[in-house]
């Protein structure tokens, strides 16, 4: 008798919803990476993009998300340094561009895709993408401003309904 791994095909009721509320390069990856991992485990996965998180699925911005360490006291130079990067330095002209470039390089070195490819992977894997109505109204966006993989613009109430029984993670 061969023994066979349990791929959990029978327990199909797990569901995860991420709320992606940030648009800084470092803070968009948590929900994208975990959503991608959840899909690979056969879990029904949704991402609700709201406020600054809208940039992740907005055509004009998704390729150009930025990183700054301004306000982030946990920023150390790469390589496990004990030094804290001076906060004032981050405010100088050109520093955001430089920090963004460095972070993108580090992400690429790990062979992790840039944001547009990551979002496409999630959509291809069957992930559901939703845009927040209030954010869309506030920012003056329409569905045409977003990638077509965004299924719909939905209200907070709609999201609460669709996330019934799900594990909800705010990022």
């Amino acid at each position: 008798m061969a023994f066979v791994p349990d791929f959990g095909d029978d327990d199909g009721d797990r569901k995860i919803c991420f709320i992606a509320s940030k648009g800084t390069l470092d803070m968009v990856y948590p929900s994208l990476i975990m959503a991608n991992a959840a899909l690979g485990e056969g879990i029904e996965t949704h991402i609700f993009f709201t406020f600054w998180g809208m940039d992740i699925v907005t055509k004009k911005h998704m390729e150009d998300l930025q990183f700054t360490w301004l306000g982030n006291t946990a920023m150390h130079p790469p390589g496990g340094s004990k030094i804290h990067m001076p906060q004032g330095l981050a405010g100088l002209p050109g520093m955001t561009a430089m920090a963004t470039k460095m972070m993108k390089k580090q992400i690429a070195e790990l062979d992790v895709p840039e944001v547009p490819e990551m979002v496409q992977m999630i959509a291809d894997a069957g992930g559901h993408l939703w845009a927040c109505k209030m954010s869309v109204d506030m920012m003056g966006l329409t569905k045409d401003d977003m990638i077509p993989e965004v299924e719909d613009i939905i209200s907070a109430t709609d999201f609460i309904e669709l996330s019934a029984g799900a594990q909800v993670i705010f990022t």
Partner: protein, 104 residues
């Protein structure tokens, strides 16, 4: 390490049932492993399995879905159709390579 009999051959497996010896694998075993989890192998499945075997041999680690898609040339959507629900684990099980370890 436990052993089990697959397609008439005694092979070594880990505690979950994944094969642990790359060279004990053959195509007959792959067919039996696929059958164990309800998959009938088509040419498209074989393309993925062969890529996994070759890439594991070259790189020393099992490729993640993104690599199977970008380098192996099988789109993500199709991977989910060929190996439903947990493609990365199912394809490595059938190909006789370890489960992938990466995050993306």
């Amino acid at each position: 390490m436990p052993t089990t009999t697959i397609a008439g051959a005694e092979v070594q497996v880990d505690e979950e049932g994944f094969m642990t010896e790359y060279d004990e694998w053959n195509e007959e075993i792959a067919n039996a492993l696929a059958g164990n989890i309800g998959i009938e192998l088509t040419d498209d499945h074989w393309q993925v399995i062969k890529f996994l075997r070759e890439d594991y041999k070259e790189q020393g680690e099992t490729p993640m879905l993104r690599r199977v898609s970008n380098v192996g040339g099988v789109p993500t959507k199709q991977l989910f159709q060929l190996f439903p629900k947990k493609p990365a684990k199912k394809m490595s099980y059938i190909a006789g390579v370890p489960k992938p370890q990466g995050c993306v």
